[in-house]
Symmetry: C2
Subunit: 227 residues, 2 copies
């Protein structure tokens, strides 16, 4: 079997940590990012920096049609929620992008078919997360089952495709500790949903709040540049 893995890389804290995990396990790294109408390009710039820093074999950035994502405040015109406790907020927030992780993993699966690879990595977490349905254990397990039914790798070639979600049961603090132990330079990453024009983090959106708290809890100096 191939030791190639496809890693979804947004350029944020979580996916960068996952890339480090995949590297630590000896995989031949193939990183996949997407341009899908995000309000800013700082995430993709971060993904490029991180892919370069990790020396991945190949980094692809696919341009997806943004048509179906317009409801999300990450893509459309609505304001990103700020100054609240993301974990205390019930329900799925406006930053949810419909079926995004399903679509992203489907493309990762298509690349894995091309590579004859059986390992996909995604940086979802069901602990310090924002209530998105496509970040939960049930979602990861269901996609893994689908992947094995849907593909030549999983059927004709007879390999078991694994969807690795090494952060699934980690808090943000534990994710940061893991990443630090694996040499991740979090100064390269971008997390903020609503950065300033120069890319500085707002410090107030759900993603910034969870990230900031994580660095505090881990007792790690926060390298984020705030506006």
């Amino acid at each position: 079997m191939s030791d190639k893995a496809v890693i979804l890389l947004s350029g944020g804290l979580d996916s960068s940590t996952v890339l480090a995990v995949a590297r630590s396990r000896g995989f031949d790294l193939h990183a996949l990012s997407f341009s899908y109408g995000q309000k800013h390009d700082f995430e993709l710039a971060a993904a490029r920096r991180i892919a370069a820093a990790f020396g991945v074999r190949e980094h692809r950035i696919l341009t997806l049609p943004p048509d179906l994502f317009g409801d999300s405040s990450l893509v459309g015109g609505a304001a990103v929620p700020k100054d609240r406790d993301p974990l205390a907020h019930a329900g799925i927030p406006s930053t949810y992008v419909p079926a995004r992780n399903t679509i992203f993993l489907s493309y990762a699966l298509a690349w894995a078919e091309h590579l004859e690879a059986a390992d996909l990595f995604i940086g979802v977490s069901a602990v310090d997360f924002s209530g998105y349905p496509d970040c939960r254990p049930e979602f990861v397990a269901a996609f893994e089952q689908l992947a094995n039914a849907a593909t030549r790798v999983g059927t004709e070639l007879g390999h078991h495709i694994t969807v690795h979600a090494p952060l699934l049961h980690l808090s943000k603090k534990e994710t940061i500790e893991l990443g630090m132990s694996l040499g991740v330079d979090y100064g390269l990453t971008h997390t903020c949903y609503d950065p300033a024009p120069d890319g500085a983090a707002c410090g107030r959106c759900d993603a910034c709040v969870l990230r900031r708290r994580g660095f505090e809890a881990a007792g790690v100096s926060d390298p984020t540049r705030y506006a």
Copy 2:
């Protein structure tokens, strides 16, 4: 619950029949097609004709990055297999497009999230088919399970998302009989993998062979224009 449904519409015989089935069940029709680097545009032209003939509420054509589909002889430079019995051929043929139906259904799911719809339709069949892994009952069942885990509709809104595959256990003959009973004009559809420059069907690729046999078995005059 919404009576809206999202129907994957390639412009071929099968998906056109499925659109007729969805109409006969009273759904508010939302048809979804894709441009993903196919060697020709006759399929999409057929999809437009059929969507218009059925008076669908909305027909979207999404342009997907063709990057990951290049291995398939439907997209890349390799020749489409011809003059053989598709059902006697073991294994997954070169016309297989990696993870295509997974990606297509993922976009259908994203649109369903937008519409708050819980019904997806796809024209796969495990009877007279070409050996693609993503045309089998296991695939359809796995995607349905994923869809319910992955979405706001399936979790927070508490609806059960159904992936309808009404042709799954039908032969091509039975599909044609069903479509005729529902008033499908198969003269509008395009099936051939490798048409002539004027759109005429080759009559020799796997898709043409299965389609031609279906009309013969059903005792229906074949409206296909052959080269």
